[in-house]
């Protein structure tokens, strides 16, 4: 074959060829037309995933939506009913929603402030031979159990840790543990690697020549940063911030361990409702609301990212 035939011809050719193969190999089973066969294969390919998604995502979600309109059974659990009472009662967890909706974005933002310089340094300033090692060192804590790392903070912030050290300097009675600050610290610590990675990936693709050109044209480092580096790294930043914020909205462990039962996130409220106060319908209502909140945040993030990407393209043109 010296040249490839045109697209249409080759696919028709391919289909006929496969038909021939089929008829040659299985003369007893040649009832299938190429189209049906194609569809069967497609169906077979997506079947396991679809079944899994349906049985374990769609059905359970339908279950909690149904439950959210029910009533609490006398001893706890679910009782069939149809009422909006659970949704009307959402206000009783206002503090939990407030904590989550305030601390999650703040935590995300602080995480960003710490992560960006590190990602920048790794992507731009570090020589390639060390880059791989240093990036891996960032990722390794992420692979270690968040549980154990957060537990280490319980010790550091407790009376035997930093407050103990501060006593030597004369500062008495410092309370660090079980405060919103402790939870914020835990959040930043736990999600830092997850924030660094997308930003790093985005910055690594940055064409150095753009930076050089900017410098050659007389721009100072700060203008180069705000005019070129930051906008071009924005996709990575958006990914990181969206990812971390969304994960934080459902966080349970960090407020539980570092908040001492005092800093309640929506995740904590949910665990309590299902595993202690046993109010399944109300818990389901909160779970449904949480999903709605997460979807809204995601849509907003995507909108902003789209808007930013769009603006960027216009500028370049």
């Amino acid at each position: 074959m010296t040249s490839l035939p045109s697209c249409n011809a080759s696919s028709r050719f391919r289909e006929e060829a496969s038909l021939l193969v089929v008829t040659n190999q299985r003369t007893s089973r040649m009832a299938l037309s190429p189209d049906t066969r194609k569809r069967l294969i497609t169906a077979a390919l997506v079947a396991p995933a679809s079944a899994w998604l349906f049985v374990f995502l769609v059905l359970p979600f339908i279950a909690i939506v149904v439950f959210s309109f029910g009533e609490r059974a006398p001893e706890g659990g679910y009782q069939a009913a149809f009422t909006f009472a659970q949704f009307a009662n959402l206000g009783s967890r206002a503090a939990a929603f407030k904590n989550t909706l305030v601390l999650a974005p703040i935590g995300s933002f602080v995480c960003l402030l710490v992560a960006y310089p590190v990602a920048y340094y790794l992507a731009v300033k570090v020589s390639p031979q060390y880059r791989l090692l240093l990036v891996s060192l960032v990722v390794v804590p992420f692979w270690t159990s968040l549980l154990v790392r957060t537990y280490a903070w319980m010790y550091i912030l407790g009376a035997r840790g930093i407050p103990h050290l501060l006593e030597f300097v004369g500062i008495e009675n410092v309370r660090l543990l079980n405060t919103p600050g402790a939870v914020l610290l835990g959040i930043v610590y736990g999600y830092l690697p997850l924030m660094i990675m997308p930003i790093y990936v985005s910055l690594e693709k940055l064409d150095r020549r753009l930076l050089e050109a900017s410098a050659d044209l007389g721009a100072r480092p700060l203008s180069t940063f705000f005019g070129i580096t930051l906008p071009l790294s924005l996709p990575g930043v958006m990914t990181g911030v969206a990812l971390v914020t969304i994960l934080l909205l459902g966080e349970y462990l960090i407020p539980q361990l570092l908040g001492g039962g005092k800093v309640f996130f929506i995740g904590n409220a949910l665990v309590d409702l299902f595993l202690q106060s046993r109010n399944w319908p109300f818990g389901s209502a909160i779970a449904v609301t949480l999903v709605v909140v997460v979807v809204i945040v995601l849509l907003v993030a995507m909108r902003i990212a789209w808007r930013v990407a769009g603006t960027r393209q216009v500028d370049l043109v």
Binding site: M1, L4, S10, R14, A17, S18, I41, T42, A44, L45, V46, P48, A49, W52, L53, F56, L57, V58, P60, F61, A63, I64, Y78, P117, V118, Y121, L122, L132, S136, V139, V140, P141, W143, T144, S145, L146, L147, V148, R149, Y151, A152, W153, M154, I156, Y189, L192, P193, I246, G250, Y252, L253, G267, L270, V271, F274, S284, A287, L290, V291, V294
Partner: protein, 270 residues
Amino acid sequence: MRGLVTAVYLFLYTPIALVVLFSFNAGRNASDFTGFSTQWYGKALSNTFLMEALQNSLIIALTSAALAAIFGTMAALGMERLGAKTRAVFDGLFAAAIVVPGVVIGIATLVALVEVFGFINPALAAIWPGNQPPKLTLGYGSIIAAHGLFTMALVTMIVKARIASLGRDIVEASSDLYATPLTTFRQIVLPQILPSILAGFLLAFTFSFDDFIIAFFVAGSNTTLPIYVFASIRRGVTPEINAIATMVLIASLALILIARFLMRERTTTT
């Protein structure tokens, strides 16, 4: 700037260093360092329940990651061939599986399964011939099922991105050369998407192994390692936990090194 970055690295590693340090504590307390000893490693390894939790975590993580890799890749390949509307539905479902918080997945699975078992078990007991009707309960299956959602969606996303960037001409060339679709897949497509599948598998394994909140809801009477560690924190920690954490840390490090080594080899051949 270098100072700031060093500070961040210190910030990342100090707690980990503390955990490792106290795993060698001779005293019982995880807060007073009284001497050097490796006794806790011995105790951790001979603790039947800790070892069982570790084993459970490994089995669950391997199974859910493997299933996620296989079904997710199949789905990615299949979605290519779907019409735009159906594909959009799938995209939405996979996005939901990733974005919905773990706590909600745990709760929804718990609720659904308890209700379903509430129906099925009495029905089974009624029709079962013998004295011991099988009872469906929360356990391995429920954890793997719940983990698999997120991990399968992850794999599908990764493999789909890779497939999208594949050159079509090679695939066409292969079929023009009379290769069956299966051969084309095996010899052309598969090697190219294999790194992505492996990356997905690795991510899936890590997610499942480290997951606490989903297992917390649906594990039933089984214990996974994170559940055991969490319960120990409530129960009063001995350096045994530090020992097991250090061992897991070293294992993760080793795994990463191996993975990076394997990946680097593959990328150079492309």
